[in-house]
């Protein structure tokens, strides 16, 4: 049984249809990567699941609770956000709080966990992402890669049913990308369910167990990395892979 079921998700910006009656099931422990040309609604999909965007239609079943994605009830919104956590492209750490305080924030404020206990959890999570020696550093004193690792720790500390990652390495200097990818891989092997938007194709190939190719708001191809990269059966997918140099030895290859 899937841990997340999305049904009929629609999102428009004016007359521009970004997500078109999209259905998506995610199994527990899955690492699902979303790939596709820019402007096809990859980020919008993630943000709609967390209600950072307001979809026009759609429902989600998560943790055996069905929530309408168009809900106006603050209680339902908070409940859905409690099951999901987002890791952003720009890290979005709280600038006035230290690394430790950033991770503790959701634990004490949202989950109402006692401070001492929250501190223990936060330290454990920061240790996992290799930031134990930077607990009292403010975001401005951390590199982009370090900030993103703290952001991942902050999300994981909340024990989400579904971890959403919106291009987590796109804002990083090339030399800092790998430390974040290692962290994500670790989170994946620990059994977290992850929905990931990324352009790191080699990483996707190694870590994801399922890849979704999104175009014009629709899922065009859906399969294992092997199916997607080695035997693409869809013309649009082939074209896309050629453009990003992931498909070799085809008639399209340059």
């Amino acid at each position: 049984m899937s841990v997340v079921e999305i049904r009929g998700l629609c999102k428009k910006y004016g007359s521009n249809v970004v997500l078109d009656h999209l259905d998506l099931d995610i199994e527990e422990g899955d690492v699902v990567a979303i790939i596709g040309p820019s402007g096809t609604g990859k980020s919008t999909l993630l943000r709609s699941i967390n209600l950072l965007e307001k979809p026009e239609e759609g429902t989600i079943r998560i943790n055996n609770k069905v929530i309408n994605l168009t809900t106006r009830s603050a209680k339902e919104k908070l409940e859905l956000r409690r099951y999901t956590e987002m890791v952003f492209q720009q890290f979005n750490l709280f600038k006035n709080r230290t690394a430790l305080e950033n991770v503790m924030e959701g634990l004490t404020v949202v989950k109402k966990i006692k401070k001492s206990e929250a501190k223990r959890i936060a330290e454990k999570q920061l240790e996992k992402v290799g930031m134990s020696d930077r607990l009292s550093h403010y975001p401005r004193h951390l590199s982009g890669g370090q900030q993103q690792r703290v952001a991942i720790a902050r999300a994981l500390a909340m024990e989400p049913k579904l971890l959403l990652m919106d291009e987590p390495t796109s804002a990083l200097d090339p030399e800092l990308v790998s430390e974040v990818l290692v962290t994500i891989k670790k989170a994946a092997t620990e059994g977290n369910t992850i929905l990931l938007v990324t352009h790191e194709m080699n990483f996707v190939k190694n870590v994801a167990n399922r890849i979704i190719f999104l175009e014009n708001g629709k899922i065009v191809a859906d399969g294992t990395p092997k199916q997607i990269f080695d035997n693409p059966d869809n013309e649009r997918l082939k074209e896309f892979l050629v453009k990003i140099h992931m498909l070799e030895n085809t008639e399209y290859a340059i």
Partner: protein, 241 residues
Amino acid sequence: MSNIFDWQLVFTEIPLLLKYLPVTIQLTLIALIIGWVAGLFIAIVKIHRIPVLKQLCTLFVSVVRGTPIIVQLYLTYFGIPIFLKYYNFYNGTSYNVNGIPPIIFAIVALGLNQSAFDSETIRAAIQSVEKGQVEAAKSLGMNGLQIFFRVLLPQAVTVAIPSLGNSLIGLVKGTSLAFTCSVVEITAQGKILAGNSYRYFEVYCSLAIIYWVITIFIERLFTYIEKKMSVPEQIAEKKEA
């Protein structure tokens, strides 16, 4: 010639003036609190673009910023009694205008004046906090109030502190006009003293010294707060969270 300027009087008068310092401080502090609370309210209305209220607030800010404070003091001093008379007439009540202590008029006028100026500072400061941090807080499951008080306000205050300090200094000096509402604070007391001795210049020298010292104190205080609140330049060696 020795009598043209009595410099000793400048200093001997200071204690006499300081007797009324509590009135000046009372005016300042209450107007300051009204200014910050109402200013925050106006800022929130403007940020969330609440219909009708937003237009009213914009009009209010425009009028208050566009008229001199002394005119505003006169308007409240004469306006509130007239309003009360109308109110009594139409509602059959008998509220007594003379029952209102004059200091209330001055506090209302100074507080509203302060709120108009501070609202813009507060609005800009709140909007200077990156949207991404609000999204991160939402994603963690924080509700609107939690986001406001834990994410937006602490960072906005850091940004707003220098301007708020500036406007507080303006307010302290603005209280010197409260005599128009027949409130006796240090400036009014100075005028009374000078009226007896005809030593106007000496009294104004004393007043200048007092206001300047108060201002220096406020400057120091706000510099200290700013330093305390902002994220340290240097990496902390060890900090207990």
